[in-house]
Symmetry: C2
Subunit: 226 residues, 2 copies
Amino acid sequence: MIAADTSKDNDSGNKKQTRHGRRFDRTRAKLLKAGRTVVAEKGLDRATVDDITVRADVGRGTFYYHFNDMGELIGDLMKEVLSELAGQIQDRCQVQPDLVSLLDAMIGAHIEFFSKRWEDFVLFYQGRADLTLVDGYDGIETPFVDYLKVIEGLIDSAISQPIPRPVLRRLACAIAGFISGYYSFAVITSSQEDVDKTFMSLRSAFVASLARFISEALPDTRTERH
Amino acid sequence: MIAADTSKDNDSGNKKQTRHGRRFDRTRAKLLKAGRTVVAEKGLDRATVDDITVRADVGRGTFYYHFNDMGELIGDLMKEVLSELAGQIQDRCQVQPDLVSLLDAMIGAHIEFFSKRWEDFVLFYQGRADLTLVDGYDGIETPFVDYLKVIEGLIDSAISQPIPRPVLRRLACAIAGFISGYYSFAVITSSQEDVDKTFMSLRSAFVASLARFISEALPDTRTERH
DNA sequence: GTCGAAACTGACGATATAGTCGAAAATGAC
DNA sequence: GTCATTTTCGACTATATCGTCAGTTTCGAC
C-alpha cells in the first residue's frame, strides 16, 4: 500500500545493458511507437490497449507490465514528442544574431518538424485539445509547459533587457498557437505540400509583427538602438 | 431500405406549432444543451449517451428518438456553435471602412464570442482536433468550412481587387487558427480574464501581419492608394 | 547443466456503453 | 368521451474494453 513510484519504469527507458534490459527497452519502444501511430489515427480516447498491443505485436498483459494504463502511455508519448520538438527548436535557434532571426528560426523549426512528422503534429494537437477539458489526462500538461519554457528561454536570452514573465509566456503561447492553429486549419482544405509553402508567406509578416510587439513590450525600448 | 433522410429530424428543430411539435422541440433543445455541457467537460469521445440523457433529465430511449447516434448530436452541436459564431462575426463586421478595421473587428468578434462562452470554445477546439484524425466524426467538417467561408466572404468584399481563392482560404485559416491556437495555449497558464486582456496586446500585431500579408498577396497592390 | 528473477502471455471476470424494443404517456382528431 | 399518432421511457441484450493473474518463456548467475 506504499505509494511507491508513480511510474512502473524509469522515464527514459534506459535499463542497464543486459539482455533482459535490452528486451525490456525494445518492447517498450515498440509499444510507444505503436501508440503514436494508433493515437494519431484514432485520437487520444478512441485508441485502445488492444489496438496498441496488436499493432506492436505483443500480448495484452505486456502493455500493463510497462504502463499502469493508457493515461501513462499517453503522458510518455507527449513527453517524447514535445521534448523532440523542443530539442529541434533549440538546435535550430542556437546562434541567432538578433531577435528577428531568432523568431524566424523558431517558426522555421516548427514547420520543419511538423511537415516531416504529421503523426506527431496530430499527437501535439490532440494533447492540446485535451488540455481544454476539465476531465483530461494527467501528465499532459507538464510536457507542454516545458515546451513553452524552451521557447521562453530562447526569447529571453535574445533580448538584452529583462522582460516580464507574463509577457514572455504570452509570446510563447502566441507562437505555438499560431503555428499549430494555422497548420490544423490549413489541412482541411489544402494538400500537405501546399500547407508548408503557403505558410512561408505569412511567416515573415508574423515574425515582423511579433518583433514589433516585443519591442513595444519592453519598457525602455525607445533608448534601444535598432 | 430506401435511403430516406440522413437525419431523424429536420435540421433547425422547428416543428409545426402543435403541442407535440413544441414538446419535441423542447426535448431536443434540452438534449443539445446537455450535450454542449457534457462535451465541453469530457470531450467528444468520453461523452456518453447516458451522461447526456441524465443531465437533460430524459430517458435513454428519447435520445435515440431524436438522434441516430452521438455522432449526429455532435454534428448538430457543431453546426449550432459555428453558425452562432459566424453570425456574431458577420454582425460585428458589418460596416468596416477598410481592410485593417475589418480584420480588427473580426478578431474582436472572435474574442468577444469565446470569452463569454468558454463551453463553446472547447467545443470548437475539440471539433477542430477531431478533424486532424483520419477516423473522426462525420458532419463536423461541413460546419467548419461554412464558418471559414463567412470569414472569406467578408475579406473578399473588403478589398477592391479580386483575390485568388486559395489565398483567401489561407487567410481564413490563419485567422481562425491563430485565435483559437493562442486561446488554447493561454489557458494552460493564465486565468480566463487574463487571457482576454493579454490577447488584446497581441491583437494589433496579428492584424498588422495579416494586412501586410494581404497587400503582398495582391498583385497590383503597389498601385493602390493607402 | 540448475535455479531464481525478469519479461511476456492470453484467457478471464468485471464493467461500461451502445442501441433496441415493447409498453406507457401525452397529444390530436373526432 | 374514444381511438390513432406522436413522443417518451427504461429494461434488456449485445458488445467492447479494461485490468488482473496464474502460467510460460527468456535470461542471468552459478
